[in-house]
Symmetry: C2
Subunit: 144 residues, 2 copies
DNA sequence: CTACATGCAAATCCTTTGCATCCAC
DNA sequence: GTGGATGCAAAGGATTTGCATGTAG
């Protein structure tokens, strides 16, 4: 489990500047955990009476992403979402037809990761992927 | 190898309406093959003295995508590109740091495709993927 | 003939930028 | 004190929409 304290300490050790706004965004990310959009982060904070500009949220999330703290995922119709890396590691299968989102265990990525490391000397950052295709129901329907 | 004729015939058999504009977009996609953006398609056509509105290009590409004729890929910094599926099948590794793009043989996707089909009854449409991470040079640099 | 596709202009959505002010270290 | 972060307003870019007109089947 990952806590805000843990992340803050890690960043401080790296000599990063910890502002109130950065802590606020991290708070929400750790509380909510899943699939937070920029707008969603702002809403959550507003409900707690803590206001942040969208601009700042974009900048903080970008900053966290560059430091490997959060992942950024484009879920297609559901937009772009952010998530603390390591907090409930998983991925998604998204149906192009009915837009159903199926959750995918991280384990399925291991073989591909290993292959990319070994054969391409590439260090993948596949922390929250979205794969598109057709779910079983829509496959059957399409082939009728 | 896939030709415009072949695609047009396939669509006609499905009862799709074949307009001049749709043929024009298909022409460019089959001629150029690789990584065509909406803007790029428009430019290519303009050079041949054949003008199309961006709106129409968006609509045609969307239409082709829904019918499984073209793939749509977000390459990150390099934007969104389209490509005829089956025409030089490949994928990309993209460095988050230096933005280098490494080409990836389609073969590496087979195991994951098989797993998604078998364990999730999901028919993946992974025809032109982009995976992000760090290339060897940037890994070494980052760890200094 | 008719339903569907296109062109144009305008709207919309998401994200970034410039610049003055503020604050963490 | 000072460099970097924030807030605000405005710009930017990509994509979508409404509606009149055109055209494939």
């Amino acid at each position: 489990m990952i806590s805000v304290e843990e992340i803050v300490n890690r960043l401080r050790e790296q000599g990063e500047r910890l502002t109130l706004q950065r802590r606020m965004v991290l708070d929400v990310l750790c509380q909510e955990g899943d699939h937070l959009s920029v707008h969603h982060v702002q809403q959550q904070l507003a409900e707690q009476g803590r206001d942040l500009t969208e601009t700042t949220i974009y900048r903080v999330l970008q900053w966290l992403k560059e430091r490997g703290i959060v992942s950024q995922t484009d879920l297609g119709q559901s937009g772009v979402v952010y998530q603390v890396i390591g907090l409930r590691l998983h991925h998604h299968l998204i149906c192009l037809n009915c837009h159903q989102e199926i959750e995918l265990d991280d384990q399925v990525m291991e073989a591909l990761r290993a292959l990319l490391r070994r054969d391409y000397h590439f260090e993948p950052r596949m922390d929250h992927m979205a794969f598109f295709g057709l779910c079983q129901v829509c496959q059957d329907y399409h082939s009728e």
